[in-house]
Amino acid sequence: MSATSPTEPGARLKLVSGLLVGLYALITLLPLLWIIATGFKSSADAIAYPPKLVFEPTLEGYVNLFTTQTRQTPEMLAADPPTTWYERIVSEKGMVIAGPSRFGERFLNSIIIGFGSTFLSVFLGTLAAYAFSRYRVPLKDDLLFFILSTRMMPPIAVAIPIFLMFRTIGLSDTHAGMILLYTAVNLSLAVWLLKGFIDEIPREYEEAALIDGYSRFHAFVKVVLPQAATGIASTAIFCLIFAWNEYAFAVLLTSGTAQTAPPFIPTIIGVGGRDWPAVAAGATLFLLPVMVFTILLRKHLLRGITFGAVRK
């Protein structure tokens, strides 16, 4: 014990903390693993009791998620044997594929609306935050508070007025309408977060660029933006997570063309009995984009999440 320095934790302490972290990771990741596993189970395995930890994986859930099916008589099935692997999976239940389901469309809608509104929020947010940070804006504090206050109302409280407005101006159930709406909601978060980050970038960097003969716009793009990358990345992730998961507005304002995945996934449950593997498959796919986006930006994120606390 005497050999360890006071700042270096002892081996036993390291082991204990390692175990604790491992246990915590297991507890938080278990539901996720469960969902992913269920997506690869057959319908029977999915509801088996006691739950099966070892099972024969099948893509039935994914096929069900992406297709609509109708029952077929054995004679007809025999007359027209399945040619592809997914037709074979379906035919084993005595069904044939009638066509694609709407999941693909809904998923694409989520991508368009989620990333579209994230891009707009971060783009407009960065410009506004820069202006608030660097220029003498009249009524600056009041404006900033006003921007924040738009976030104080719960979505459900403003949903009806927005529904009526959207119907009047023809934005209901459109991609543009949902992108606009999510941008409006996210913008206050984006402006406030980004202003904090930009405030921390010393003005001298831009001033050096101005003196070196560059315009303010050039200084903004070439000097401020690279240094705000951390803040921009973390803000983008926050915005995407909100837009991606948003449920209340999506249920109310979309039904056909622009419906996103969150209101769609629960409807799978109702189609042809409780198809848990299909629901789990949908949930797994739904997790992916945010996960990939976060992993892509993680190099910027670690410093960003601390809100610049470690930077001088």
């Binding site: 010393p202 001298e204 960097y205 001033e207 050096a208 660029a209 003196i211 070196d212 003969g213 315009s215």
Partner: protein, 365 residues
């Protein structure tokens, strides 16, 4: 290279006046010091010359052209920031090359100029390093490289050595001055360190509370201070100030206080009221037969000289004398002043009275 003329330059931030009607001229090729305590408006003045701040009123002429309202990017000057402001997302080479890229120079020309600047500053071996891991001195050199690579009309530097360790500062100051002597570029250098200003500057402007107190060569400013503030701010240990009440006539060569007559340079103006008798420690002598008696409180050994602190009826006096003379605390000594180098001040306004010693600097106003 250029001459810089500042005329009635003034800057207000809301109701606060940071710089009040400054006027001075910086000659072509001069190493010019803006000296003053923290918060006196040095940085604000420099930023106005650079175009990073627009003056409330007044004019700035660079090379005869009024640039007061021109944006920084059109003034063709180089600025070295206190914290250097090296672009953290670029390596050393790109930092130095950045000012050239805006001028639309070709690749080969840029590379040649960067190499030349790096050679002058001795940082060739650092060119491909990120700026993050550099030492303070090397960051300083890169910041200088970014300034000299472009051959601007003048260099503006805001406390460029302030972020360096004390031991390194001395070395860098010499390097900077040598660089200036080689390039001969007009340089405006801001510092709050009077020693740095005296060592490096051709001429110095001393500022206080946004007002210019004095403008001149280091020697004139040290020997012939225009105000009490300058006399106190410049020199270490500072000038001795002996306060008294009395009256002097023009032409007088003595003033009397505490019943003893003390020598002064022949006065050129009469004055009555509260006055300050200002004498530098090196113009104080210890003389056994002098009528002003004092007790030795302390002696501080500095090698060739020593600083002796004495308490007299006229106040505490510090003398810089040769260190070979033995002075023991607690003993009594006579104190005499070298009258030709003394400055008398009006105690209320802080203004120096004109005398044979300083009239060349103060003028006849």
């Amino acid at each position: 290279m250029a001459e810089i003329v500042i005329r009635n330059l003034r800057k207000e931030f809301g109701s606060f006046t940071a710089v009040e009607g400054s006027s001075f001229t910086i000659a072509d090729g001069e190493f010019f010091m803006l000296l003053g305590p923290s918060g006196c408006g040095k940085t604000t003045t420099l930023r106005m010359i650079a175009g990073l701040e627009l003056p409330t009123s007044g004019q700035i002429l660079i090379d005869g052209e009024d640039v007061s309202q021109l944006p920084a990017s059109r003034r063709d000057i180089a600025f070295v920031f206190q914290m250097f402001a090296l672009y953290p997302h670029m390596n050393v080479r790109r930092n130095i090359a950045y000012p050239l890229v805006s001028q639309g120079l070709g690749r080969r020309e840029v590379a040649a100029k960067v190499a030349e600047a790096a050679r002058i500053l001795g940082i060739d071996h650092l060119l491909d390093r990120p700026v993050g891991g550099l030492s303070g001195g090397d960051r300083q050199r890169v910041a200088l490289g970014r300034a000299i690579v472009r051959d601007p009309k003048c260099f503006l530097m805001d406390e460029p050595l302030g972020a360096l360790d004390a031991e390194f500062r001395e070395h860098m100051a010499q390097e900077l001055r040598a660089l200036h002597d080689r390039m001969g570029a007009t340089t405006v250098y801001v510092t709050h360190d009077q020693l740095e200003a005296m060592q490096m500057g051709d001429r110095i402007v001393v500022m206080n509370h946004g007002v210019i107190e004095q403008f001149g060569t280091p020697r004139d400013i040290y020997d012939k201070p225009r105000t009490l503030f300058v006399a106190e701010f410049i020199g270490s240990p500072p000038m001795n100030f002996l306060r008294f009440h009395g009256a002097v006539a023009a032409g007088a060569t003595e003033v009397a206080f505490h019943h003893i007559a003390h020598p002064v340079p022949a006065l050129r103006e009469a004055f009555a009221g509260d006055m300050v008798y200002g004498v530098r420690p090196e113009h104080v002598r210890l003389a056994d037969d002098a009528p002003l008696r004092a007790e030795v409180i302390a002696a501080e050994y500095l090698g060739t000289t020593q600083i002796v602190t004495l308490r007299s009826a006229a106040g505490v006096i510090r003398a810089r004398i040769a260190s070979d003379r033995a002075v023991r605390p607690g003993t009594s000594a006579g104190v005499a002043f070298d009258g030709g180098r003394v400055t008398l001040f009006d105690a209320r306004s802080g203004r120096a009275l004109r005398s044979a010693h300083n009239e060349g600097v103060l003028g006849h106003g």
